[in-house]
């Protein structure tokens, strides 16, 4: 009996650990939803901030984040997918491919503020793009590259070998095989990775601190060489840098950012689920 009592206690402790991870998530979400809802209405989402950001909306920050995220994906997806094709379809198990994999692991672990420094050094100063949407997008794009590569690799690897063998045996070239027999089946997986990358890029602050983000800029950007406000940086600014911002404006901004990121993640999860269900091999 003793061992079973011990088992009961042990399982309860492990269950408690799991609750300690999950419950705070729900609490955080609940607090932000409850306190942020009252701030959100049409004008909050569509107007520019006024009176030192104490009133008005956050439209420039929302738009800025959308531009940055779009730019990051335009850069990172083609590069990431081609890179995954190289790893899965072309490279052999050798020193070079080991090195590439190690580089990807390290890119995923580089602190976000170091990406910010890198973006400042290479895009803002060396290429003289200045603090601009272009610099910020490229910096974010490099940061989400490992996410895209890893997801695309998994998607390509899940396509059965027989698809390739059949295509090659019919006289198709290697690239034709990849293009017509492998990529279409990997597409949903690649899309899932892309959306996760979008979510990650939308929420990051440190990489855009020195490369694009404007403290307070009520007019909208007109070119990729303009600075812009961005949601995560705006939340940082109004919660630590400017005193006297009404609480519901802060919570409202946090809620808009959270909703944007969570909806993207939810879309990715649903897409992955649908894809797994429909898989016929």
């Amino acid at each position: 009996m003793n061992v079973y009592l011990k088992q009961k206690i042990a399982f309860s402790v492990l269950f408690l650990c799991t609750l300690l991870v999950i419950v705070p998530v729900l609490v955080i979400l609940a607090i932000i939803f409850v306190k942020g809802m009252s701030a959100i209405d049409i004008s909050f989402l569509t107007e520019v901030p006024i009176k030192g950001m104490k009133e008005g909306g956050i439209f420039p920050a929302i738009l800025g984040t959308l531009y940055l995220v779009l730019g990051a994906v335009l850069f990172a997806v083609p590069l990431g997918v081609l890179s995954a094709i190289y790893l899965v379809e072309y490279s052999r198990e050798n020193f070079l491919s080991r090195l590439v994999k190690l580089a990807i692991v390290n890119l995923a672990g580089v602190p976000s503020v170091v990406y910010g420094l890198f973006g400042l050094g290479i895009f803002v100063l060396y290429f003289e793009f200045g603090a601009s949407i272009l610099s910020g997008s490229l910096t974010l794009g490099i940061m989400i590259l490992p996410v895209i590569i890893t997801a695309s690799r998994e998607a390509l690897e899940s396509v059965p070998k027989s698809f390739r063998i059949v295509s090659l045996s019919l006289g198709a070239s290697k690239w034709q095989t990849i293009r017509h027999s492998v990529l279409p089946h990997a597409l949903p997986g690649i899309l899932t990775g892309t959306i996760l990358g979008l979510g990650r890029a939308a929420g990051e602050t440190a990489p855009i601190l020195f490369t694009v983000a404007a403290f307070y800029l009520p007019k909208l950007p007109t070119s990729i060489f303009d600075q812009t406000m961005a949601l995560p940086y705006h939340l940082y600014v109004i919660s630590t840098q400017v005193p006297g911002i009404p609480e519901n404006v802060r919570y409202g901004t946090a809620l808009v950012l959270l909703l944007l990121v969570l909806l993207l993640n939810l879309a990715a999860i649903i897409l992955r689920y649908q894809f797994r269900k429909r898989k016929r091999w």
Binding site: V3, C17, T18, G109, G203
Partner: protein, 294 residues
């Protein structure tokens, strides 16, 4: 060969070159990051010897003459990271065991979604919540002048490390062959004895990698830690004091520097330190992960 085939061959040649170039792009980017950090940061060491940079006790970048000793910042990072590890490692490993071995399938899916949700919350939002809810609690519980302390940072960062620890440890636990469990149960072991002495034991390298990656994430975390630790660049004597980490220093001070100046170079030099630390941690974790896969 007709022209059509020829054009196709040329096209494919170009595409395959492009694929190769994209393939090695990750290596190029890692090299570029290191090169640019060195380019902007190394000039500091013309003025400040490396040993002074790392071991000097004062970080006064804008006083005259400026002092660039990052020891208080290193200790700040170490204190916050150690605190976060003490909280997140047992809880993270415990919930990974629960999710992988004990939870029924439906519950398991919900819990995994919850962990993914936590991973998805932007760090600036976690920092905001920590600042507004956790800091006042710590302030009143310990009777402190401010709630923005190393402890607040450690608790906040523990939550940011947990998704990494849980999901990677869970993968490692699930990867333990089923026969191990079956053999243990057949020998008369209880489910708990099997889980703890056989499965957890076999998954050790993967769990170690999970912990290392979690700690790597904590060291590099910037926004949340900047918002909740109080940002005082002093050598900490207790976990209830405000501290400042390496990452927060870079993020907070870069805006005030003159490009090419000493302070600017010093912040890039901190970037070099951070890059090397995370490079080593991630490289080592990767080695352990490969060990598990074999």
């Amino acid at each position: 060969m007709d022209t059509h085939t020829k054009i196709r061959k040329i096209k494919e040649f170009i595409i395959e070159r492009l694929i190769f170039l994209s393939g090695i792009m990750s290596i190029i980017i890692v090299a570029l990051i290191f090169a640019f950090l060195l380019k902007e940061g190394l000039t500091l060491f013309w003025q400040v010897p490396l040993s002074d940079f790392i071991f000097a006790r004062n970080w006064y970048p804008i006083s005259d003459p400026p002092q660039f000793g990052i020891l208080p910042l290193i200790l700040g990072s170490v204190l916050v990271t150690a605190g976060a590890a003490v909280i997140s490692v047992p809880i993270g490993i415990g919930s990974a065991l629960f999710i992988a071995e004990i939870a029924p399938p439906k519950t398991k899916e919900i819990m995994k979604a919850g962990v993914e949700l936590l991973a998805a919350i932007p760090s600036v939002v976690i920092g905001f919540i920590g600042m507004i809810t956790l800091a006042p609690i710590i302030k009143s519980v310990f009777g402190l002048p401010t709630g923005l302390t190393a402890l607040s940072g450690a608790i906040t960062l523990a939550f940011m490390a947990m998704p990494t620890i849980v999901s990677i440890a869970e993968d490692a636990i699930t990867a333990v062959p089923r026969q191990y469990r079956e053999a243990a149960i057949a020998m008369g072991a209880t489910k708990w004895q099997t889980t703890w002495r056989i499965v957890a034991y076999a998954a050790r390298p993967g769990m170690l990698a999970a912990v290392m990656l979690g700690i790597g994430r904590v060291i590099g975390e910037t926004m949340a830690v900047m918002m909740v630790t109080g940002n005082a660049a002093l050598i900490p004597h207790s976990i209830l004091q405000p501290v400042r980490t390496l990452t927060a220093t870079v993020a907070a001070e870069m805006g005030e520097t003159v490009q090419g100046g000493e302070h600017y170079a010093a912040l890039f030099a901190i970037g070099i330190v951070l890059f090397i630390i995370t490079f080593l941690i991630n490289g080592a974790a990767d080695l352990y992960l490969h060990k598990t896969k074999k």
